[in-house]
C-alpha cells in the first residue's frame, strides 16, 4: 500500500499500464503539462497534446483502437466531451456491435466531471447518465484513490469502450492546474472530502471489476446509494443521521454502467428505505434507473431521490443548493423515516 492522492492514483495506474503495454497511449488537450510525469516517462509520442478539436481527436481514438492501439483519450471536462458526442454515440459504442463482435475497440475516454468548486454550469456537469444510456458502454466514476487506480487499470485492460470519469473535486492536481494552489484565500477544505482526495493504493495496482459496488458504511434503517463525490455527501449525511439514532448504509456504485443490480437490491431489501443520490441531472438518469431496478425486482421499499434539477449556477451558495448536499440528503432521509 502506498498513500496517494486521487489524481496521482489515476496517473500511477495509467503509467503502470503504459509500462506493461506499449500500445497504450494517451492524448488530449494539455496532457503533456497536466501529466508531465507521464510525459517524462514515456515521451511525446505516447503522451500527445491535441488541438482544440474534440470531435476529431475522439473520433481518432476510435480509429486508432481499430488498428491496434489502446488509446486513453483525455477530454479536459466532460462538458467539452459533448463537442465530440458523435464519435461517442455513433462509433466508440457501436463499432464492436456493427462488426458482429469481430472488431474489438479498446478505447478509454478519460474526462473530468463534477462541481462543488464553483466553476459555473458549463464546467461542473456530471453527464454520466447520458453516457450510461448507451449500449455497449462502460461508465465508471471512482470516489477514492484505490478505486481510481483500480478502475483505471481495468479500463485500460478492457477490450471494450470505457468512459473513465475523474471527479475534479477529488483530483488535487486538476484543482491546482485551475489555479488552486496559487491563492491561499480559497480553501476547499470544507467541500473536498478527505477520504476521497487521499488514501492508500495497493501496489501493484489491483484491478477493480466493472459493475461492482462497494459498501462504505453499514446501517439497517436506510440505504443511501450514490457514485463519485455523492458517496461522500452520503457519508456526511449518514453521520448527521447517526447523531439522531438513525443508521444508514452507504453504497458506492463505482460504475454507472453496468450497475450492480444485486447489491442495490440487497441493500434496499435489508433497509426497506432507499435514497438515491446523484450529482447528475434528475431526469433520465441514474436515480430513475435505481428506482426502475427496485420495481423490476419487486423490492418492497420506500424510495426518494436527490439530484440536480437546475442549470448549475456559478454563485457558490447557489451551486451548493443545486448539488446533492448533505442537508438535502438528510431531509430526504427524514421524509422516508417519517412515512
Amino acid at each position: 500500500m502506498t498513500s496517494m492522492r486521487y489524481g496521482e492514483a489515476v496517473d500511477f495506474a495509467l503509467g503502470e499500464a503504459m509500462a506493461d503495454d506499449s500500445t497504450v497511449v494517451t492524448w488530449g488537450e494539455d496532457v503533456q503539462l497536466i501529466h508531465y510525469e507521464l510525459l517524462s516517462r514515456f515521451g511525446p509520442t505516447r503522451v500527445l497534446d491535441t488541438p482544440i478539436s474534440e470531435a476529431a481527436f475522439v473520433y481518432a481514438g476510435v480509429g486508432a483502437a481499430m488498428v491496434g492501439l489502446r488509446p486513453v483519450v483525455e477530454v479536459m471536462l466532460v462538458d467539452f466531451l459533448t463537442a465530440a458526442w458523435c464519435p461517442v454515440v455513433n462509433a466508440a459504442s457501436k463499432f464492436h456491435d456493427f462488426s458482429g463482435g469481430r472488431w474489438t475497440i479498446p478505447l478509454v475516454i478519460r474526462a473530468r466531471v463534477g462541481g462543488w468548486y464553483a466553476d459555473g454550469g458549463q464546467h461542473s456537469q456530471a453527464l454520466w447518465g447520458m453516457l450510461a444510456s448507451l449500449p455497449s458502454t462502460t461508465v465508471v466514476c471512482p470516489s477514492t484513490p484505490d478505486d481510481a487506480a483500480g478502475l483505471m487499470l481495468s479500463a485500460v485492460q478492457d477490450d471494450g469502450f470505457v468512459v473513465f470519469l475523474e471527479h475534479k473535486l477529488l483530483s488535487e492536481r486538476f484543482l491546482d492546474y485551475l489555479g488552486g494552489d496559487s491563492r491561499n484565500t480559497v480553501d476547499f477544505q470544507d467541500v473536498v472530502p478527505a477520504g476521497g482526495a487521499i488514501g492508500d493504493v495497493p501496489v501493484p495496482v489491483e484491478a477493480v471489476p466493472f459493475g461492482s459496488g462497494r459498501i462504505r458504511r453499514e446501517g439497517e434503517d436506510l440505504a443511501l446509494i450514490s457514485v463519485g463525490v455523492g458517496v461522500h455527501r452520503c457519508m456526511e449525511a449518514a453521520a448527521e443521521l447517526a447523531a439522531e439514532g438513525v443508521e444508514a448504509t452507504v453504497l458506492d456504485l463505482r460504475s454507472v454502467a453496468p450497475l450492480d443490480r444485486e447489491m442495490i437490491v440487497e441493500v434496499a431489501k435489508r433497509c426497506g428505505r432507499v435514497v438515491a443520490v446523484d450529482e447528475d441531472y434528475l431526469r433520465g438518469g441514474l436515480t430513475g434507473e435505481i428506482g426502475a431496478i427496485l420495481l423490476e425486482e419487486g423490492v418492497e421499499c420506500s424510495y426518494d431521490r436527490v439530484a440536480v434539477e437546475t442549470t448549475i449556477p456559478l454563485a457558490p451558495n447557489l451551486e451548493h443548493d443545486a448539488l446533492p448536499n448533505s442537508s438535502r440528503i438528510v431531509a430526504a432521509s427524514r421524509s422516508l423515516l417519517e412515512r
Binding site: S22, Q32, P44, S53, A118, T185, V191, P316
Partner: protein
C-alpha cells in the same frame, strides 16, 4: 450607444483604461478569493476590443469567448453589475448564474460562451437573423487562435461565406492554448486558412489600436453593405497567462519554488524502472521548450502593453485626468461589489470584504 470616433483619442483611451481597470480589479478580487472558479482576464486585448467595439451600433450582436469582460465594459455594461456577476453574487447582471464565462446582456446583444469555438456559429446565426430582420447590422464573433482548430468554427466560416452573411470574426492570436503552444498543434498558417475559406482577411498587430480600428472598420463596413464576411486577425499577448494562477506562469514567475516540485515528479518519471527509454529525453525537451516560450512571451507581453502604447496619442494632462476619473469610477464599483459580496461562509477561507 454610438461608439467614439477614431478621431477622438480621448474617448478611445478612456475605453481602454476602463477595460484595464476592470480587469485589474477582478484579478485582485480573484486573488482575494472573491471570484469563484477560474478567471480569464483580457489584459493585453484592450486595443483589439476597442478597435472593434467602437464601430458597433445598437442592434449589432457580439458573440464572446471566455475573455468577455473587456468587450462588455467597452460596450457600456455597468461595471458594478458585471463585477458582482463575476464574483458570483445574486445581485450581478445575470443573478449569479453566469460568472465571467457566460455573461449575457440581451439589450446589448452580447453573450459569452465558455465552449471554445462556439462564438463562430453563434455569430453566424445572429447574422442570418440580422440579414432577414434588420438589414445593415453586423454580427461579431471574438475568438482565440486555438479556437480555429475547433470544427464548428471552421464550419461557421464556411457557412458565413457560402451564405455571404454580415459577420466579422475577430481572431486574437496570443500564441497559446492554455499551456499548449498553438503552433505545435496547428497545421499551416491561420491567415491562409481563413483566406482559403473565402473570408476577407485583414491582418494587424493587436497592440496598435489605430491599425485595429482601421482594419475592423473596413471589414465591418463591407459586411454591413452585404459584401460578405471577414476575419480580422490580430496578434496580441496574454501577460496574465491563460487564467489567474496559470501553472506555466507560476513556473516562470517563481522558478525556484515551483521547479522543485516539478523536478521531483519528473525525476520520478525518468527513473521509473519501466518506461520508454528512447523517448525520455524528448519528453523533457518538450517541457523545457514550453517553459522557455512561456517566459519569452511573458516578457514580450509586458513590454508591448496596448494601453500604455495608446496613451501617447493623448496629451499627458488629459490622459492623467482620464486615469484619475476612471480609477474613481472603477474603484467605487469594486469597493461596492466587495461590500455587497462580503465574506463567503463555505467557499472562501478569508473574506476579503471591505
Amino acid at each position: 450607444m454610438p461608439g467614439p470616433k477614431a478621431s477622438d483619442p480621448a474617448s478611445t483611451y478612456r475605453m481602454m483604461v476602463r477595460m484595464r481597470l476592470a480587469e485589474d480589479h477582478l484579478v485582485a478580487a480573484w486573488a482575494d478569493g472573491l471570484v469563484p472558479g477560474e478567471y480569464h482576464s483580457g489584459i493585453g486585448e484592450e486595443a483589439i476590443n476597442a478597435g472593434v467595439v467602437m464601430h458597433l451600433t445598437p442592434g449589432d450582436t457580439v458573440a464572446l469567448d471566455h475573455r468577455s469582460t473587456g468587450p462588455m465594459i467597452a460596450r457600456g455594461v455597468d461595471p458594478l453589475s458585471l463585477m458582482l456577476e463575476v464574483m458570483g453574487s445574486e445581485e450581478g447582471m445575470n443573478r449569479g448564474r453566469a460568472g465571467h464565462m457566460h455573461l449575457m446582456d440581451p439589450e446589448l446583444r452580447m453573450a459569452a460562451d465558455g465552449i471554445v469555438g462556439s462564438s463562430g456559429p453563434l455569430a453566424v446565426g445572429n447574422a442570418i437573423a440580422l440579414r432577414q430582420l434588420e438589414e445593415g447590422q453586423v454580427a461579431i464573433a471574438f475568438h482565440g487562435e486555438a479556437a480555429m482548430n475547433q470544427g464548428m468554427l471552421m464550419e461557421a466560416y464556411n457557412m458565413a461565406v457560402a451564405w455571404q452573411l454580415p459577420v466579422v470574426f475577430v481572431c486574437k492570436d496570443n500564441r497559446w492554448s492554455i499551456t499548449t503552444y498553438s503552433a505545435s498543434v496547428t497545421g499551416g498558417n491561420l491567415v491562409d486558412r481563413a483566406r482559403s475559406f473565402g473570408l476577407a482577411v485583414e491582418t494587424v498587430r493587436g497592440t496598435r489600436h489605430s491599425d485595429v480600428y482601421a482594419a475592423a472598420g473596413k471589414l465591418i463596413r463591407r459586411a454591413r453593405a452585404g459584401k460578405g464576411p471577414g476575419l480580422l486577425y490580430a496578434t496580441c499577448h496574454r501577460p496574465g497567462g491563460h487564467f489567474e494562477g496559470d501553472p506555466l506562469l507560476r513556473l516562470t514567475n517563481n522558478p525556484i519554488t515551483e521547479i522543485g516540485t516539478l523536478a521531483n515528479d519528473i525525476r520520478r518519471g525518468l527513473k521509473a524502472p519501466r518506461g520508454s527509454r528512447a523517448d525520455v529525453t524528448q519528453g523533457l525537451r518538450e517541457l523545457t521548450l514550453r517553459g522557455g516560450r512561456a517566459a519569452r512571451d511573458r516578457a514580450r507581453g509586458a513590454m508591448r502593453d496596448p494601453v500604455r502604447r495608446f496613451r501617447k496619442q493623448v496629451a499627458h494632462a488629459q490622459a492623467a485626468a482620464i486615469e484619475t476619473a476612471e480609477a474613481e469610477t472603477m474603484g467605487t464599483a469594486m469597493r461596492t461589489a466587495r461590500e455587497m459580496v462580503g465574506i463567503r461562509p463555505v467557499f472562501g477561507k478569508q473574506g476579503g470584504a471591505g
